[in-house]
Symmetry: C2
Subunit: 122 residues, 2 copies
DNA sequence: CGGTATCCTGCTGGATACTG
DNA sequence: CAGTATCCAGCAGGATACCG
């Protein structure tokens, strides 16, 4: 089974991979984590800007996620001492480490939509 | 703002990207989809093999996901007419299209674990 | 082996209103 | 603008038992 040899890795490394996959899913779990990370990495810094950039999100969810993301070092919250109404959320290196995953997912989503469109035209 | 120019895309394409991202999240949502896809793409075909390859999953969740994945064309369920106890799940092209996403997530998970280990050693 | 059937809990997330 | 506070529903998911 030459093909199997090439495709399959040994059981041990496979177990590592499932675990790694599950870890990642855990960290970015939920509907909103990745879209928020994406938005901030795209340059949005203000609460309302982030909110507006993500269709369907509510202030409550955004608030909650941002708070937890700050705790986890995913974003930095910077409050202007002069006017507490001016807050900025900055992305961190940790935040940026999800870039490739997000890119792949965007790519997949676009491809997916293209295929749906095509099959509709028939 | 040359740097911003390079980093940021225009609003219209950004909106497309969020949408694509959200579509993808919707399709692979939940704890189990990707691990199951991964397992099957790794060559596991039998129910119990898939189950054993994914830590923490229950027969109920696996059963449910497989059923829905079959409906969505993510896997093909092949039943041996001679012995109904011999069933095989086969991956499809659609299933394989998640390969890159899974790869990136495994990569991230491994890197993440390495960093956790490192910071513990200090 | 390859699943179903029940029962149950909690958390994710939505709606809405309110605040400094 | 930048959030909090409440209230509430639904369903993802866990535990356990059972079946052909």
């Amino acid at each position: 089974m030459k093909e199997a040899q090439a495709v399959l890795s040994n059981p041990r490394s496979q177990a590592d991979e499932v675990r790694a996959l599950q870890d990642t899913i855990y960290v970015i779990g939920g509907k909103w984590r990745l879209p928020i990370i994406n938005s901030i990495c795209n340059g949005n810094r203000r609460f309302r800007d982030i909110e507006r950039s993500i269709p369907g999100i509510t202030t409550r969810m955004l608030s909650r996620e941002l708070k937890e993301m700050e705790l986890n070092g995913l974003v930095k919250r910077v409050e202007d001492p002069n006017s507490p109404m001016k807050v900025e959320y900055m992305s961190t290196e940790y935040c940026k480490s999800f870039g490739d995953i997000i890119l792949e997912m965007i790519r997949w989503g676009k491809e997916h939509r293209r295929k749906i469109m095509k099959s509709r035209q028939k």
